[in-house]
């Protein structure tokens, strides 16, 4: 038991290092995303709703876009009939981004918060150049 204090010191240092991210950030909550809906196209809408319900879009927009690309490119089906019967042209540029023309204020907010980097925008162009 001669090395007892060395072992304890080592353990204490190890625990301190491992928990470093926890206590250094304690009390500093990350800023929750606050996506902006303030674009000219959205402001003109009589009812501010996306092609589907907000909850659905929040959770499933990636699956929806994934299916859109398959239907439009591989099946040639370019018209999407939403669950409320409204028809939309399948296009990230001409449909999604014509309303959400503020990519940096809308898309990036959540993507940065969650640390996801979708590669959609390496080809599809956002109107604000983002």
């Amino acid at each position: 038991m001669r090395d007892f204090r060395y072992i304890l010191t080592g353990l204490a240092i190890f625990v301190a290092v491992v928990t470093f991210p926890l206590w250094i950030n304690a009390g500093k909550a990350a800023q929750p995303p606050d996506p902006s809906l303030d674009t000219p196209a959205i402001n003109q809408l009589p009812k501010k709703q996306c092609i589907e319900a907000t909850d659905y879009m929040r959770q499933k927009h990636m699956q929806l876009l994934d299916q859109w690309r398959t239907e439009a490119i591989r099946e040639g089906k370019t018209v999407y009939t939403a669950s409320d019967g409204q028809k939309y042209q399948i296009s990230l540029e001409n449909t999604c981004l014509s309303c959400h023309s503020n990519k940096s204020q809308f898309c990036d907010q959540c993507h940065n918060y969650l640390g996801v980097e979708p590669d959609c925008f390496s080809c599809h162009q956002a109107p604000d150049g983002g």
């Binding site: 490119i73 999407y80 080809c123």
Partner: protein
């Protein structure tokens, strides 16, 4: 009254069955959205072009490149001034390179060295589609050989397989080289192969290809090769003879040149 084992199993089974069926019921109830083709889309079995170079040349020599420019603007084609990295959808080749098998010793000077507009031939039997390991390039039911850039891994097998050199590889990010970006169409990214898509996106909206629309002299006829009343068939029958690029390879190109 205490529940018997028999009762417990019976009701337990019913509850489990209900829980198992719930996701299916919910899925069926939620799936009310549908996908369909645009009713205005052109429908055809085999889209093709017939290019009358004799109509084009008198104006082309004066510098009419409206078809090139329309295509470039429409599809955000980068203007990279380096033959090793340039991106080509529609361009010109001299007769001898476009039609090497028709380069006779005593070739009519009418054709010798003259520029021919060339583009992807949208072959009926496309070698690029056969070799693509990811099915990123595929033949649509209407005959267009399309690219799905989401699936392209940049292996360039298609470039090796294409006998017409109609495909270009993006060695660098093309965006800085796009003169007038068209916000309605995507750009490409570094590491994918691109080519003419016969304006599939326009045909799906009921519009003719941009090059056909842009030509002020009607040198390019577009239509369904299977339809005898289509513009392309009318153009083919109106002249003496039509040639195709490298027909001996059996790729069955759908671009015809009227001579």
């Amino acid at each position: 009254m205490p529940i018997t084992r028999r009762e417990f199993l019976k009701w337990g089974g019913i509850v489990l069955l209900g829980l198992g069926a719930w996701p299916t019921v919910r899925g069926l109830a939620a799936n009310r959205s549908t996908y369909e083709a645009n009713p205005q889309a052109y429908s055809g079995q085999k889209w093709g072009l017939a290019i009358t170079m004799s109509t084009c040349w008198p104006h082309y020599q004066a510098g009419c490149r409206k078809c090139f420019l329309a295509c470039q603007r429409e599809h955000n084609i980068p203007d990279i001034d380096n033959p090793k990295e340039e991106i080509k959808w529609i361009w010109t080749e001299p007769y001898e390179r476009a039609f090497p098998e028709l380069n006779q010793s005593y070739l009519n000077p009418r054709y010798k060295g003259r520029p021919f507009i060339v583009l992807c031939n949208h072959c009926d039997n496309p070698p690029c589609v056969r070799v693509c390991p990811t099915q990123a390039t595929f033949k649509r039911p209407d005959g267009i050989v399309a690219m799905d850039y989401h699936r392209c891994i940049g292996c360039r097998y298609c470039m090796a397989a294409c006998p017409y050199g109609a495909r270009s590889f993006n060695f660098q990010d093309p965006r800085p080289f796009i003169r007038e970006p068209n916000p309605a169409f995507p750009t490409r990214e570094k590491g994918v192969v691109e080519k003419c898509n016969l304006c599939a996106e326009r045909i799906d909206q009921g519009l003719v290809p941009a090059c056909v629309e842009a030509c002020p002299y009607g040198a390019i006829a577009f239509g369904d090769l299977e339809d005898p009343t289509s513009n392309v068939r009318k153009a083919l029958y109106a002249v003496g003879y039509a040639i195709q690029r490298k027909p001996e390879l059996g790729t069955k190109p759908k671009i015809y040149y009227l001579v």
